[in-house]
Symmetry: C2
Subunit: 192 residues, 2 copies
Amino acid sequence: MDNRLINYFLKITNLTEDETKVLTESMVVKKFKKNDFLLKEGLFSNDTYFILDGCVRQFKTLNGNDITINFYTEEQWIISLENFEEKSSSNYNLVCMEDTTVVIGNEQKAQELFKQFPRLETTSRQIMETVFMEQQNLMTSYITDKPEQRYLKLLETRPDILQRVPQYDIATYIGIKPESLSRIRKKLNKKN
Amino acid sequence: MDNRLINYFLKITNLTEDETKVLTESMVVKKFKKNDFLLKEGLFSNDTYFILDGCVRQFKTLNGNDITINFYTEEQWIISLENFEEKSSSNYNLVCMEDTTVVIGNEQKAQELFKQFPRLETTSRQIMETVFMEQQNLMTSYITDKPEQRYLKLLETRPDILQRVPQYDIATYIGIKPESLSRIRKKLNKKN
């Protein structure tokens, strides 16, 4: 049995024995290989992912080029709400940058759980608030920070990402060309 | 009594008489004048706003210049979750572009409501999902769309905004200089 999702919940709230049991029983754990897709642009999905281990890159293809929107690693949620509501197809891809293990949830299953255990809905709402908050900060940073600042933020808050994904993906995430990222890194190396 | 928030809820879910009563009683309606600030960068706030009428601009100041992050109008929620969780100060401003009337909610009051009426938590979660979805789409658009596409999307999905706010704010929202926006508009006018 994999306790990591339960341990994650326990950081947010206490769980009764029944709640722990039903959460554990309802957990669907799935393993993906490096380069596997969790979701492709244009396909439909209601799934939500909690990453147990590994790294997933969210990207969009534009004129034949990848543009990285976000990276997700251990204990992060990938919530694709656009798909819940409008039943529209995904406008991005999710690809594994490493062998990756996730817990897969979906809205329908969650609703059934919430009916039995309303307290889990509160926890779910709190998780969504946190994910939403991260998203808001990411967007504000994307709109207002210069590429160099975005690189420094990544270095400060998620240094592991820089070791785990190719420079090319870091560059498109920051919104610049790989050559420009090299220049930024050289400049920063000189400073230190 | 102002029914507009109740009517909004009724689009999402049915409400019992008790739920309608408690929602109506707990509603705090506040009127702001054009140019009033709902929130300033650096200040703390736990408030959430539902706009009854008017228009609010979310922006950040960078090197003395405004950068517009979003516009909010009738029936939209402004949810500043970053403040719920970390008790950090706001990293943006909210200013009224017109005389604006809002319903103000906050997390603590919401929690009390949810204890009495758990079904309202489900509705609240659904609303947050919708707001989150809009935010995700906005971010994806910001990262992947060219300025002209962003302008066309605004024209298509929120044509009223173009009438309600100055061109300067439209330009910083799209991520370009006002001169570039003029060029885009001229080019589109020629096409039509």
